[in-house]
Amino acid sequence: MIITQKKDRKELLENVKGYRSFFLLGCSECATLCGTGGQEQLDELKGLLEGEGRAVAGAFVAKTGCQVLGTKVELKKFKEELGKADCIIVMSCGAGTQSAVEMFEDKAVYPANDSMFLGNMTRLQMFDERCSLCGECILDKTGGICPVTTCPKGILNGPCGGTKDGHCEVSAEIPCAWVRIYERMEKTGRLEEFKAGTLAAKDWSASVKPRKLTAREEKKK
């Protein structure tokens, strides 16, 4: 999921100081799990804005904020509230914010959160980054552990000299990705593959931004 963090509320209030009436838009997926865009956080921000003497015309937790069409349909029933608001604050990720920008061409849209990374939830509201969406997956060659993401240097062929007792020179909190890969490949009987293979430099053209994908097959006329 997309991991988000609340922007500093002072900064947020400063960003939207020129507006009088707001509509708050959350998301029931990632942002709810992150505790940044669920009903509770919407209520909290509503209270904060009202405490500052600003009006909150409406608030809604969309099912999936990055799904533009679906969110548009869901918001139809808030036509009146949205009409009253001169600013929409989106409490999901950067994708959700930009769904709103697409839907509301002539209305100010502001983000309430910072979007951090694609994360795995390890425990409630604890997240790890394991995949960086590089566009050219090499997990098949690295025992299923991604060094592009979990090694701060993105090294592709084994540990650097900065490994200290199996941990990373960047932080003792980070287990060395290449020690993990080595141990996993050893356990799964793939050590020879580890030793024999040298990975060539990655093809970064697979992640030239902005990326676009049409996965559906066009219906033949």
């Binding site: 240097k153 993105g154 490994t163 430099a201």
Partner: protein, 293 residues
């Protein structure tokens, strides 16, 4: 005799290093090069060491050449992508630089520009592959070059890495990628190093043992605590402690000389890489003590 020739001659080779300064005043650097140049076989020039921004290694390598000394261009992958690295390698070649030491490089978080974007488009193994390709007249994309490079390329290895097995696997990858020589992270436990060399001797590469001059027990403790891959054994720390403040540096130099003699006399490795880190004037002293001058 070039560095490569020296290694191939079978003599016990000595390299030292100079760190480019932060700023354009290179008076002290000229001085250090002059102290070292007739004593050692080659001089490493570090590449923004510890990720602290300084004069580039390439420019200082050229200055080393102008002193009639032989530079080893240290090249890390932290600050340049494959276009920048290959371009600098071509530039190094036309400036007459013949030795290159390929490393991944300390992370920017270790340095003085922590907000910098770390590059790591390549890493050490891939950089070695790139050097090999340039030597053979082609760039990494397979394009032909109008004139290839002439590098004698090497890598680094950490014999004290914990765990060691993944490090050794990478050492082999570097050899397959074209590394001809290795300079190791500082080693202080010769018996353990001998075990590493038993492994390394299976490959057609030259190995220079790294050594950082110890000036006090405090420094040894600092290295143990803060530098991954360095382990100063307790008995050496006690030896430095027993020497007292006044004599600690002298003892550190004696330890260096003793180690060098043993590495050479027992033919454990092919040479020594002395990292003086600000005490360049002590390198000839150690070499004399070790019977190398």
């Amino acid at each position: 005799m070039s560095f490569q020739e020296a290694l191939n001659s079978g003599k016990f080779v000595v390299t030292a290093e100079v760190g480019p300064p932060k700023g354009t005043d290179i008076a002290a650097l000229h001085h250090d090069i002059d102290i070292l140049k007739d004593k050692v076989d080659a001089l490493n020039v570090t590449d923004n060491q510890s990720a602290v921004m300084r004069i580039c290694s390439l420019a200082i390598c050229r200055i080393v050449l102008e002193h009639n000394a032989e530079p080893i261009l240290q090249m890390t992958c932290r600050d340049r992508n494959r276009i920048g690295l290959q371009s600098d390698l071509l530039g190094a070649d036309v400036l007459g630089i013949r030795n290159v030491l390929c490393m991944t490089g300390d992370h920017v978080l270790a340095g003085d520009h922590k907000g910098a974007k770390p590059v790591y488009d390549l890493e050490s193994v891939q950089l070695l592959t790139a050097v090999d390709s340039l030597n053979n007249g082609r760039d990494m994309a397979g394009n032909g070059l109008k004139g290839g490079t002439h590098f004698f390329q090497g890598g680094v290895v950490t014999p004290e890495a914990n765990p060691l097995a993944p490090q050794l696997a990478k050492f082999e990858k570097k050899i397959r990628a074209g590394a001809k020589f290795f300079q190791t992270q500082a080693i202080y436990d010769i018996d353990k190093f001998k075990e590493f060399m038993t492994f390394a001797r299976r490959f057609p590469v030259k190995v220079l043992a790294g050594f950082v001059i110890l000036k006090s027990a405090g420094m040894a403790n600092f290295l143990n605590k803060n530098v991954p891959g360095i382990r100063v054994p307790e008995d050496l720390i006690n030896e430095l402690k027993a020497a007292g403040k006044e004599k600690a540096l002298e003892t550190g130099m004696d330890i260096a000389a003793r180690h060098i003699r043993r590495l050479r006399d027992e033919n454990i490795c092919d040479g020594i890489h002395i990292m003086a880190i600000g005490m360049e004037d002590k390198v000839p002293v150690i070499m004399r003590k070790a019977g190398l001058l």
